[in-house]
């Protein structure tokens, strides 16, 4: 293989591997932006993966599969939202409980489907479709515009979410809720409603991320199919400093690391596990840099993880 074809191979693989990360990261960004730290990403992804797979398996319809994954993800998020907002429970513990529950849920529901493969009708819907003109650009065209439909949806959702967060009135309100719920409340914003809606939306995105794993990446049921990607997504949110545009770059970069490791193994004496360590190391470095800089743009939402009770202000 020459250099160009290796580069194309790595970049294409990076985008494909990065897409479930992208969905989950976008979901966690919107959740954290509204001030809730949901550590249940892995759990919501697994719920989305198992329900999405079982729906696609029984109906043979890929769209139903993805939709079912979204609903399952938001059901998980609903538990988190109800506990942390209405019942005022601790966010970290609630999120971890959600991950424990989601992991158990997916293994238990999935045990009857172990090893089963999706029907042709579903698998064929996720084969790469080339976009005319754009797809003909060398290297980048192949990597970005010769992909499956969910990868394209990822681009669209990331851009829409960025516009929504940064350019609309509702986006401004939701950022205020995450920064200072007290003043948002005074300004007449329904804090609980904003939190509920965006946590559910975040859960739906995590659900798609999980469904991508069970429908596209591994089109047969495998226990624990997400393999810790939910946790990488939590790390990615910080790595990309809560910005949906950067989330695309970050997710594909982390995707590239996983592909590169596989590829370079045969050339360099660096084992895969050291490559697998890089995303986490990179995240720690970003965390430290953020705390050193104290710049306004890149820091976490001010009220992240803090409960808001009107009566206790």
């Amino acid at each position: 293989m020459n250099f160009i074809s290796i580069l194309t191979f790595v970049l294409t693989g990076a985008v494909t591997a990065g897409t479930p990360l992208l969905f989950a990261t976008l979901g966690e960004i919107i959740t954290e932006k509204v001030g809730q730290l949901n550590l249940g990403v892995e759990g919501m992804m697994l719920m989305g993966a198992v329900i999405g797979f079982s729906a696609a398996l029984s109906t043979g319809n890929p769209a139903v599969g993805v939709l079912a994954g979204m609903i399952a993800g938001s059901c998980g998020a609903l538990i988190f939202a109800f506990l942390t907002i209405t019942l005022r429970a601790n966010q970290i513990v609630s999120g971890l409980s959600l991950t424990i529950f989601g992991t158990g849920f997916s293994s238990f529901v999935g045990q009857k489907m172990a090893g089963q493969s999706l029907p042709e009708s579903v698998r064929n819907s996720f084969i790469p479709v080339k976009i005319p003109l754009l797809g003909d650009v060398p290297v980048l065209g192949d990597a970005l515009f010769n992909q499956n439909i969910l990868v394209y949806s990822g681009y669209v959702i990331a851009i829409l979410l960025a516009i929504y967060l940064l350019k609309t009135r509702i986006g401004l309100n939701l950022r205020t809720v995450g920064e200072n719920p007290g003043s948002a409340d005074t300004a007449g914003i329904n804090v609980s409603l904003y939190k509920y809606v965006h946590i559910l939306l975040g859960g739906a995105l995590c659900g798609i991320g999980g469904a991508y794993m069970s429908l596209v990446t591994v089109p047969s049921w495998q226990d624990g199919v997400t393999g810790g990607r939910g946790w990488i997504a939590v790390a990615l949110v910080i790595f990309v400093t809560w910005n949906p545009y950067k989330a695309m770059l970050g997710a594909y970069f982390f995707g590239a690391l996983s592909i590169l490791g596989l590829y370079l193994q045969s050339y360099l004496p660096i084992p895969q596990s050291i490559f697998d360590m890089l995303p986490y190391l990179a995240t720690i470095i970003v965390l430290i840099v953020i705390s050193l800089k104290k710049s306004k743009e890149n820091r976490p939402p001010k009220a992240l993880g803090e409960p808001y009770f009107r009566e206790e202000r």
Binding site: I79, L87, I92, V234, M277, I284
Partner: protein, 359 residues
């Protein structure tokens, strides 16, 4: 329509019964779910209990699972008292196990009386250092400790994967990625058929109770948890207290790593922590950070886990049912906290209460 009012009148007995009702509710809800999936929930629950209490062997297994949960929970409780969200116990356990294994594998010619204390000390140091790194950045620059400690888990795990399949791979394992078994002088001795870790665990529970409730440093930790500013105003060296307490927190988790490799597995693998670091966060929280209660909660969780493993082998029902029940119990108990701390009153009634208080 309703108004949330803070409760002040709840007795200890009532709050315990609230939690028991929550656990029953969780069992009921999970039961309905299990039944919906075509299994008999009653049979599953009974078999799970049988899996922990059915024979002396099974009961011992449950105790062996309780030990790491208790010690890790003790470690986490120190950090949580300061509102330092250490969710890196998993990594601290792994590093403790790693350091202990180093001595077990490469200093195995030492007599048992020297080797075991050496392994113990090594695990304390390694676990402590792994916790000290995020604590240093937290104290110095205010770096978010929740996410930092979480990342440290994965780095520890990948490191052991690397060692297991590379540096320390047992050449006798025929290419399989395994580390050699320890020699007998690196194994914790047994008392009543359970490794001696249980005695150390009881000792640690008592020491922790005294440390938190009867010593100056324990008091300082509690003050920092309530308000860092108050602590600073009172002249406490907050940075130093955070660092030393996290060192203690990580050291306790490190000890768990030593228990697991030396007392249970007799070798090191990257799965040595096996989710204990995460489960312990929850047991710590459910126990309200109190050392004696931690023992009870951890035992109950171990019974669930042991029961899950048992029904997997006995009925080929996936062991994940244990996680399912655990998750559901957590949801219900977390939810019940609200009803322990607050009560809902009808709006006009609330007004009259406020009026009465004003008078």
């Amino acid at each position: 329509m309703f108004r949330v009012v803070k409760r002040t009148d709840l007795t200890k007995k009532q709050s315990v019964s609230f939690r028991l009702i929550a656990i029953l509710g969780a069992l009921l809800t999970t039961g309905i779910f299990i039944w919906f999936l075509g299994f008999n929930p009653l049979q599953i629950y009974i078999s799970m209990l049988d899996g922990s209490f059915g024979s002396m062997y099974r009961f011992k297994e449950a105790i062996i699972q309780t030990i790491p949960l208790v010690v890790t929970s003790l470690g986490i409780s120190v950090a949580f008292r300061m509102k330092f969200w250490n969710i890196g116990a998993e990594g601290q356990i792994i590093m403790g196990a790693f350091a202990a294994s180093y001595f077990a594998l490469y200093w195995s010619n030492l007599p048992i009386g020297v080797l075991l204390p050496l392994m113990f000390a090594a695990s304390v140091v390694a676990g402590g250092i792994w916790a000290l790194i995020p604590a240093f950045f937290k104290a110095q620059f205010g770096t978010n400790e929740t996410l930092f400690t979480l990342m440290m888990n994965y780095i520890a795990q990948k490191l052991i994967i690397y060692i297991q399949y590379g540096l320390w791979k047992d050449p006798k394992a025929l290419g399989a990625g395994k580390i050699a078994m320890f020699t007998d002088n690196a194994a914790l001795p047994e008392v009543f058929g359970i490794h001696i870790g249980w005695i150390i665990t009881i000792l640690l529970v008592v020491l922790m109770y005294i440390f938190i409730n009867r010593t100056k440093r324990g008091y300082e930790i509690q003050v920092i948890g309530e308000s860092e500013n108050t602590a600073r105003y009172a002249g406490m060296n907050v940075k130093k207290i955070i660092l030393t307490s996290m060192l203690l927190s990580g050291a306790l988790c490190g000890i768990v790593g030593m228990f697991q490799v030396s007392g249970v597995n007799h070798t090191l693998s990257y799965q040595v922590a096996n989710g204990v670091g995460f489960t312990a966060i929850i047991t710590t929280w459910l126990a309200g950070l109190s050392a004696p209660v931690i023992v009870i909660v951890c035992f109950l969780f171990a019974v669930l886990q042991q029961g899950g493993t048992f029904i997997q082998t006995a009925f080929s029902i996936h062991a994940s049912v244990a996680q399912l029940v655990q998750g559901m119990i957590l949801f219900f108990v977390l939810g019940s906290e609200f009803f322990i701390q607050y009560k809902l009153v009808l709006n006009n009634k609330a007004d009259s209460i406020i009026k009465k208080e004003a008078v």
